[in-house]
Structures are given as structure tokens and as C-alpha cells.
Symmetry: C2
Subunit: 342 residues, 2 copies
């Protein structure tokens, strides 16, 4: 069948802040699926901070590769509906997730491992959930939050946990999971509106890191120090965490968004890790796929009971995807940033 | 009894490199022990990189406090012989370790916790060992090496482990323990002579980090990357380790001597911890006292069999202590740096 669809391409790597001009939306013919392949009409696609790392020629070693210029951007999560299937196990109408987002239609090979496994084509057993939750709480975001708390042993409760970027997709889940598991949670974000939301909707203590310095804010809310820190920010946030962690404190590092558009600098007070027996642990959600089932079971239950709040900032239509990314990186979105595809 | 003895005092905090002029040797009357106290004649005292951190007004948070100016320097390991005892459990002639080194005589209170427990007065069951080994392989140095490998799970063998400052007191033990436990060890040091010693006496692969750049040297010796890194250096060494660690690699951090006389800077490539699931773990020997018995048992056996080499650089007489420290920090000593006290 002769179908046409749009895809987003990178025109140039942004020099500093991302702008929509760095991208172009191109109409392309949609290939027919070969035997063994599935054609998916995307309905939602994900907008993640990590994409920024792939918008430069020197994507960090060990991370996903840079997006090539002038081509469809492979390796971005999407959910959609199977339109045509030539692969066993998939039929038209199936709701699926995969890693060929930022386009209207995707021809997907079920056998190909995508995004370390998180993005490999899979049929979603939606139940009472909304499909796009599988790009957020029930997908990579939920797994990142859950796995981060898991790898630093912060799921047993009874501790003081600081979560930065706590109004973001991962942070808002990490803050809630940490709280629902019995920890005292200190959350930080960059606008008063976000802080209000954290306090009122999530019920955690929160501060605006742009008002006053981080250390004073932490000292005020946690005069006895923090036991664990969930880091998506790096930079000054990580330094402040090291300053305030108590003995044997732990840091879960899932990203360092403060560095993504500038030269990274490491924490100058890393010696505190020695003097206070601290552990810093970087992790990837895709390296913790074994936790996906238990995460989904736990978070589905909390979503069902209303204990877990899943907030979304939705941009309508694919052509908004570049704008959505720019807005998210500059801190103007709350919760999971998504693009709905008409 | 009226005894006189010498003690070393800090005259001023060194601006850059330590020099003997920053200290003075003062003759003082030796106090008689009160009931419950023990008088010790020190025979050996320790010279440790960490002392440098206490020779500045702003000793790092969580670390041992700065040495006050113009007073005896409390909290430096020594071994000696009990001369007079007014405390239960100690009699004249006992060989003991404690934390009042850098002086001829020490009046020690057995009940006082010193250096987080490592320096608390204890009678040594010397056996075939030399007393000064309790300042090295069988003391805090051995515990630091052993505990560091323990906290990053590098005692089970079968991995490639990089040990920096490997001709130093801790590094030379960490390199040997890692090797004797079945790992492949890459050792680095700052002179050709040290590198020769590492290769010939310790039987490990080694390179001089001052010849060529760290990354090239590591790539050459460990083209497949390293699994674990034992860090006493920080700075460019830690950055090189992050570059070369394989997925789920670990770093044991016991110090960062490259920072002690300058402004510390953190590793600029710390994002690799995220992209490669790395763990960085700071630790203190004094937080791992529960490992002391097994460490001593293991290392004593290896010392007895000759499998473990315990090299010392000895400076004769207390008045050499400041010079010994300056020599050690500038990299001109090998193995454990000690001062014998006449």
C-alpha cells in the first residue's frame, strides 16, 4: 500500500541550546513491511533529556550513538498500533512500544534489540492503563526511577532521600516511589510552580533551587543531612549532595542534564566520598530490565489506587517534537514530556 | 620520673609543597602517666599521605581535623614499648600501637578511641612479624588495601585491576593482594625505578605514568579495558580509569593525593558512570575495622610464606619525620614510609 508519513530529522547539531530550527520534518514514503516485520502507526512518542546527548557529534562513550544528520532518528521510544503484521505474535490492532519514534509510521523488526532492550518491539498488555504511560511510569521512566533507588538500596524506607529534577519524568517517579516506600523525600525543581506541585500533588517537601543556594536549602530541610541522593542533574547539584550526605550515603546517577549543553565539570568535593564512605553509582535503565516486571506490578498498583500521580506535558502533533524537546531541556515542562501523533 | 622527649609540631601550614621548615622539633618534659594510663616509648612512627590533608586550616569535612599549630600532632600512628603502666592489661615491655606518634614518648589512655578506632592503644601479638609491620601491611595500610578491594568486590579474582600509586604503602599492598587473589594487575607509579620494582619484586605489569599519557599506557596494557580501579591519586588518574573501565566497573577511592597540594577538580568524564553502570566507592580503613582480623590472618600468612613483599623506606630518627613526609608526598619513597626513633 502506498502510504506517506512524516519523520523528524536532525539538520545540524545545536551549538548551545536546542532550537526547533535544528530539525526538519520531512514527508517520506512508508515502506511495506518485509516478512518478519511489523508496520506500526505511532500514536505517542517520547521526549527525553538523554536525546540531547545524541545531538552532538561526540556522544559520550558507552552511551547511545549520535543521531546522524539528515536521517530518521532511530532509538527514541514510541507507542502505537500495529497496522500490518508479517511477524508471528503481532496482529493489526495490537498496541506496542518500540524505539522508532519521532515519525508517523515505523517498520519494526521484532527480533532487533533496541535501546539496550527497553525499545525492542513489545506488545503492551494495557489493561486499565493509558498507552502513553508505557513511555512514562510503566516504561523507561518508571524503570529508571525504580532501578536507581534499587541500586542504592533506597527502597526499604526510613531514610532521607533527596531527588533533584523532581518535577521531571524520572524525578517525579523517583520522589514518589521513595516516599511510598517509606522514606522522607526532599524534592527540588527550578520553578515555584513546580515546587507547589511537588508539595501539593506529590506531598513531599520541596524547594526551588533557583531561589537561594542549594546548600542552604538542603540544610534547612534536612539539618541532619541526607542518606541518599537521586541525581539527574550533576554539576552543582551533585556537589551539594556530596556536601550533605551523611556517612555511608549513596548517590544514584542516571544523568547530568546540567552538563548536556556545556563543558562538564566533575564534583570538586569528591574527596568527601572518601572521608564519609560514600558510594556513587551510575546506572542505566536498560541494564536493569530484570526489574521491569516488579516495577510495573508495583507502579500499576499505585496508579490504580491513585497513590501515584502521573503527570504529563503533552505537545500535540509530531511537528511539535523539536519544540517539546527544547521546552523540556530548558525546564518548562512538568512530568513526562510527550508528543501525541495525530 | 623526670624524662624529657622530643615532639614534632607544626609551625605553619605549608602554602604548596611541604618542607621541613613547616615543622619544629621541640624538647618537652614527659608527663607521668595518671592512673589508667600507659607511658610508651615510641620506636617507629608512620608517615602517611593523609597527613598532608591535616596540614591546612580547612581539613576536608568528615576527615580527621587539622593539626593545631604549635602543639604535638595527635592522631599519627606509632608503635613502641610500654615503659610504665598504670592501666590494666598493659605491662612494661608490651609492644603496642597507638595514635600518638611523631614524638619520643607518649602518655596514652587505653580507653580513648583514636583515628576512628585504628589508633586506639592495642597490644600487638607480634609473633614472627616485625613491630613496624603493624604500621604497614598488618596495620592501617593493609586494612586500607584489603578493605578497598573488599568494598568493590575485587577479592574473588579473574578480573583486570588497575592500582595507582602502586609503589606506595597502600598501593603496593593492594596490587599484591589483588594479584594473590587471582586478578590480573596493572600497576602504575611515577619513576622507572618504581616500575622496575613493581615488575621484578611484585611480578605485576606496570607503567610509569610520567612517560606518555595515562590512556595510551592503559590501552596498551589492557586493550579490553579494566574491571576495577584502586584509586589513591584522583585527578587525571581517576579520569583515565573512568575512560577505561568496562561496563559495571568499580572504583575504590581511598584518597586523591594529586589534589592535596592544589585545588581539587572532579573528573570531567563522570557521565561515563551513567553510560557504563560504574560504581565509585569511597571508603575509610577505620570504617572497616571488622575486616582487620581476616586481613591480618591473610597477610601474615603471605608474609610468612614470602609471597607478599613488604618494602619500607626508613628515615632514621624523629627529627627526620618532616623530611620523610616531604619526600613521600613528592614521590621519592617506595613502599611504607617510616621513621625509626632512636
Amino acid at each position: 500500500m502506498n502510504r506517506a508519513g512524516r519523520e523528524v530529522r536532525v539538520r545540524r547539531y545545536p551549538a548551545g541550546a536546542v532550537t526547533p530550527d535544528d530539525f526538519e520534518i520531512v514527508e517520506v514514503p512508508v515502506a511495506d513491511p518485509h516478512p518478519g516485520q511489523v508496520l506500526v502507526r505511532n500514536t505517542w512518542t517520547s521526549v527525553d533529556p538523554g536525546l540531547r546527548l545524541r545531538l552532538r557529534p561526540d556522544a559520550p562513550a558507552g552511551y547511545f550513538p549520535a543521531f546522524p544528520l539528515g536521517q530518521a532518528m532511530d532509538g527514541i521510544m514510541a507507542v502505537g498500533e500495529v497496522v500490518e503484521s508479517r511477524a508471528e505474535g503481532f496482529v493489526p490492532g495490537d498496541v506496542v512500544s518500540h524505539a522508532q519514534g519521532w515519525r508517523d509510521y515505523a517498520v519494526v523488526d521484532p527480533g532487533a534489540t533496541q535501546l539496550g532492550g527497553i525499545g525492542t518491539l513489545s506488545r503492551l498488555d494495557i489493561g486499565d492503563a493509558e498507552p502513553q504511560w508505557y513511555l512514562g511510569a510503566l516504561g523507561g521512566m518508571g524503570l529508571t526511577a525504580y532501578a536507581g533507588l534499587h541500586v542504592i538500596d533506597a527502597l526499604d524506607g526510613g531514610e532521607t532521600v533527596w531527588v533533584s529534577a523532581a518535577a521531571g519524568a524520572v524525578g517525579s517517579l523517583a520522589a514518589q516511589i521513595a516516599k511510598l516506600r517509606g522514606n522522607r523525600v526532599i524534592a527540588s525543581a527550578g520553578t515555584d510552580e513546580k515546587v507547589d506541585w511537588l508539595r501539593e500533588a506529590l506531598g513531599v517537601e520541596a524547594f526551588n533551587y533557583r531561589r537561594g543556594d542549594l546548600s542552604s536549602s538542603l540544610r534547612e530541610l534536612a539539618p541532619g543531612g541526607i542518606d541518599a541522593y537521586f541525581d539527574s542533574v550533576g554539576g552543582d547539584h551533585l556537589e551539594a549532595a556530596l556536601d550533605h550526605l551523611t556517612g555511608h550515603g549513596r548517590v544514584a546517577m542516571c544523568g547530568s542534564i546540567s552538563d548536556y549543553e556545556s563543558e562538564p565539570r566533575g564534583p570538586r568535593n569528591l574527596f568527601l566520598a572518601v572521608s564519609r564512605n560514600l558510594m556513587l553509582r551510575g546506572f542505566r535503565a536498560s541494564s536493569n530490565l530484570h526489574l521491569m516486571a516488579e516495577m510495573r506490578e508495583q507502579l500499576s498498583a499505585w496508579l490504580g489506587s491513585g497513590e501515584l500521580v502521573h503527570r504529563e506535558t503533552v505537545f500535540a502533533d509530531l511537528e511539535q517534537a523539536p519544540h517539546a524537546l527544547a521546552e523540556m531541556i530548558s525546564g518548562r515542562t512538568t512530568g513526562k514530556t510527550l508528543v501525541s501523533i495525530c
